[in-house]
Symmetry: D2
Subunit: 139 residues, 4 copies
């Protein structure tokens, strides 16, 4: 399972471009990290919400994928993100975990933390879809 | 107003990095465009939802900003994105428009279209906050 | 199709209890109405967001159901509601319409209007699931 | 604070109509309970999502209110609810808790449990607004 997650993650060019690292993967939970980068900021100099959302989405997606049957692929159906404070910091820890998985939908929650802060600066509630037997779509 | 939006947009390094262009700005409505780029893809080779969400968020943000008092700054409080189909195509048109603006919150809707498709492949419902008189925060 | 929607609606005791009426049903779009009722208010005397959300959810659900195959059942997977102003008024018009329907998920948007106001006081973005061949579940 | 929450709750006719009880209130966390009632069902005989959403919304609202200054009033700006399974059961426990509170917005998470189930059948991510000094609006 870990190998499947890592292999799929490695194919996400967006994650490479953002410089995201996979920190931990266990069944139903994924942790990633992201560093501040001036190329991905918004107008006030903080990391753009879109960069944070990309990683939260990916963390939730792989948390869901980690509990899906091996032959599945995962797609994001929808998510809601709340930005509780600006993404101010040097290093961001981003987690995704499964709340409950159903036949085709897996619901996850994600949290983003700046540096050593114990309170998240962003939270996500995401709905992932399990795809099975779609030609050309895997991972 | 147009100058304020463009000036703030130009300070979003994330938009430059993604190669986003402002196509049109009018009070309460903003249109942007984005091209497919292999550096921002997900594991199936389509544009990552995070790239699409970043531009939808920015389009909604500036739609809101365009109806705020000149001395305000805009921040995203929360948004929900639905991904209706993969971001398959060469050129994406992304719109944001104000549904209703209140004292501190402005609610917007965004839509993303691939190439000439008239049906959106992604839709957003976003809540923007008006910041007034926050030292160091403008635009 | 109209008969299927009406038959399913008639089985929703919640709609009878709230006094909701179906005003119009066409493929992909449903309109309902709701009256102010002191039994369903929040602490400031306005209609409770939960009453409005119930009807928006149902309107979106039947908009989705109206484009599903006849043997399907519809369930709400997730929705986001924005409350743009209090539900102040006597009679509320609530619409749901399909944005795009996929293999198992149908995404809808809903709007709620008070009396003659042309601006919605609440908007919803909803994701409906198509259920097929689930014993004991229809409509 | 407990008295303020209870007093405001008692003014929500919707909660009386649904038969909701306040089980516990502490700073930043509220727990409520709701019983199955045939008057509030959807078309398959389960409790309508709108009834569950109403109580989740109220639980999140009072969790937020419990950490606001005494002279504030609370309004729901937006929430996202995921329905992970039908509301099947006799007695439902519904919790709301504050994730983080800012100057005017308080973000909360809610969970709904059926009977003795330890996994939630519904989860909410909600954004509450603090109102200060609005004539005629308190609680």
């Amino acid at each position: 399972m870990l190998a499947r997650v890592q292999a799929s993650f490695d194919r996400q060019a967006m994650m490479t471009t953002l410089g995201v690292e996979v920190i931990a993967v266990e069944p139903g939970r994924v942790e990633m990290s992201l560093r501040h980068n001036d190329r991905f900021t918004q107008q006030h100099g903080f990391l753009h919400a879109g960069a944070v959302a990309s990683v939260l989405d990916t963390a939730c997606g792989y948390a869901a994928y980690s509990v899906m049957p091996p032959e599945s692929a995962v797609l994001t159906a929808t998510y809601t993100i709340n930005l509780l404070a600006p993404a101010a910091g040097e290093r961001f820890t981003i987690t995704g975990e499964v709340v409950r998985s159903g036949r085709t939908l897996v619901v996850c929650r994600g949290e983003a933390f700046a540096d050593g802060d114990e309170r998240p600066f962003a939270v996500m509630q995401a709905t992932m879809t399990t795809l099975v037997n779609r030609p050309g779509i895997s991972g």
